[in-house]
């Protein structure tokens, strides 16, 4: 017996066939509507032509639909035809959405869905919002990172970040046996500028001073505000004589700088201390100790410049024993910055 759509024009089947047809319908109903897994074809119906492949197709689609309903997209449906095709299309769409979601997770916010009705709208809105939020967060992160490493008044690096870079640079210098120098400098008579003209003018002087210094240095040099009116410069790949020459150049640049005020022009000067590390033979110190010693010597040299008339450059060698008796404050500050 063939299972087919109702045929009202034909005579009803004999009683035996009607009973068999009812059993076929009941069996197919169980596959389609029961919550329990589809049963095998009852022995009595095995002889019904076409029932077994139909039952297998329905069972296959039922299992496939169940997998889809539980989010399992790995199923394979061998059944062909339009009905199975709709299930496979849904699976295909869901798989593609899953792939698109994985792309979004990797930062590809160009992904859009246009084949899943309301879900498309929600997905696209979510991706656009993620994109907006992440762009905002990245901009914020950049802004706060910049704030964390810079001095807000001058825009130069702050002390903490200076030593982060300087430590790496001293390690690199030691590894490759390359010279490295430090200049410390301080605006002369800055307190009197503040007292005479006010702190607003003092701030202008600091900003202008920073700008002049920055203009005279190489891209690889690292300039930072040390605190108050003190500044520090790291000069990679620079030996003692070139470092002193750089300090002299900076000194001249500052001397030639006139800061315009309402009451006229203000000319400032600065004092400089220079030290460097360039002799590697016999060295047993680690990079951090070398850095501390070079900064200390530059600070002591600055102290000498201040005590011998200001507006001058003083150099102290890394291993100058006479320098040990001189006063300095840089090392203590450096430890604070590094901690």
């Amino acid at each position: 017996m063939k299972v087919s759509a109702s045929m009202p024009d034909k005579a009803p089947p004999p009683a035996g066939d009607a009973e068999l047809a009812a059993e076929v319908v009941a069996y197919l109903n169980r596959i389609l509507f029961d919550s329990l897994p589809a049963p095998t074809v009852p022995q009595r119906l095995e002889g019904v032509e076409g029932l077994l492949p139909l039952a297998m197709a329905l069972s296959g689609m039922r299992l496939f639909a169940e997998q889809l309903a539980t989010g399992d997209l790995s199923g394979e449906l061998a059944v062909r035809g339009a009905f199975a095709g709709f299930f496979k299309m849904l699976q295909s769409n869901l798989r593609h959405v899953a792939w698109q979601a994985s792309r979004v997770a990797q930062g590809d916010f160009s992904q859009r869905v246009d084949f899943m009705g309301d879900f498309s709208t929600a997905f696209n809105a979510m991706v656009q919002e993620l994109d907006r939020t992440l762009t905002f967060l990245r901009a914020s992160e950049l802004k706060y990172r910049q704030l964390a490493i810079t001095d807000s008044l001058t825009g130069l690096y702050n002390l903490r970040y200076f030593f982060t870079i300087a430590e790496k640079e001293f390690r690199r210098a030691l590894r490759h046996r390359r010279p490295v120098a430090v200049i410390m400098l301080d605006i002369d008579n800055f307190k009197s500028i503040n007292d005479r003209h006010g702190h607003a003018v003092g701030d202008t002087v600091l900003r202008e001073f920073a700008r002049v210094l920055g203009r005279s240095l190489r891209g690889a040099d690292v300039l930072a505000r040390y605190g108050g009116e003190e500044f520090i410069v790291l000069l990679p790949e620079t030996g003692c004589d070139p470092a002193v020459a750089v300090a002299e150049k900076l000194k001249k640049g500052v001397e030639g700088c006139f800061i315009g005020l309402e009451s006229g022009c203000l000319n400032i000067t600065a004092s400089f201390g220079v030290s460097c590390f360039e002799i590697f033979a016999g060295n047993r110190l680690p990079a951090s100790d070398i850095m501390e010693q070079v900064v200390k010597r530059a600070d002591q040299a600055l102290y000498q410049s201040k005590n011998t008339g200001k507006n001058r450059v003083t150099f102290l060698a890394f291993d100058d024993p006479a320098a040990d008796g001189l006063g300095f404050g840089a090392s203590r500050k450096m430890r604070c910055a590094k901690s």
């Binding site: 339009a82 095709g85 295909s92 798989r95 593609h96 792939w99 792309r103 990797q106 084949f115």
Partner: protein, 172 residues
């Protein structure tokens, strides 16, 4: 082979702005299918089914290579490549391409094409017909990755599915 007249180059597409100032670059899909299935009929009569499929796969491959050179050869990133291919195929009315799976390590892909130029809407035939598409997709993947892929259609409109599904596996 000597005395070839039609070694493909993009020039054979012609200058459509000059050539079709009124009709433009679009034509009815029926005309495309008329040509494709007329070719298929005649070639099959001359060469048999297997050889015809080979000819269509290789033709698709050649078309895919030239299409890649024309539109995608500058792209380095896979996601950009896929999204550009999707947009181009959609804009040109070729089909709606989607990626179901892209395993870059195993070099294994599952790609679907809905509303396909070659087959969507055809009567059910009990076998897949998008052999040209197989070659076309293989060429796109080969050209982008530099590896040799074999593309096989596993579901097709003509086998009752709503969307054509292709597996692509690297050879060797």
């Amino acid at each position: 082979m000597q005395d070839r007249r039609y070694v493909f180059s993009w020039d054979l597409i012609g200058n459509l702005d000059i050539g079709r100032p009124n009709l433009g670059p679009m034509t009815r899909l029926e005309v495309y299918r008329l040509m494709q299935y007329a070719f298929r009929d005649v070639i099959e009569r001359h060469c048999g089914t297997v050889k015809t499929d080979t000819i269509f796969y290789e033709s698709g491959y050649l078309a895919g290579q030239e299409f890649y050179k024309q539109f995608f050869s500058h792209i380095k990133d896979f996601a950009v490549f896929i999204s550009t291919v999707q947009a181009t195929l959609k804009d040109m009315g070729v089909g709606i391409l989607r990626v179901e799976k892209a395993d870059m390590e195993q070099k294994s892909f599952v790609i679907t094409v809905s509303e396909d130029l070659d087959c969507s809407g055809l009567p059910e035939l009990n076998y897949e017909v998008c052999v040209y598409d197989e070659g076309f997709l293989a060429a796109l993947l080969d050209s982008f990755t530099g590896e040799k892929f074999v593309v096989k259609e596993v579901d097709c409109w003509c086998t009752g599915d709503r969307t054509c599904r292709f597996t692509a596996e690297v050879v060797g």
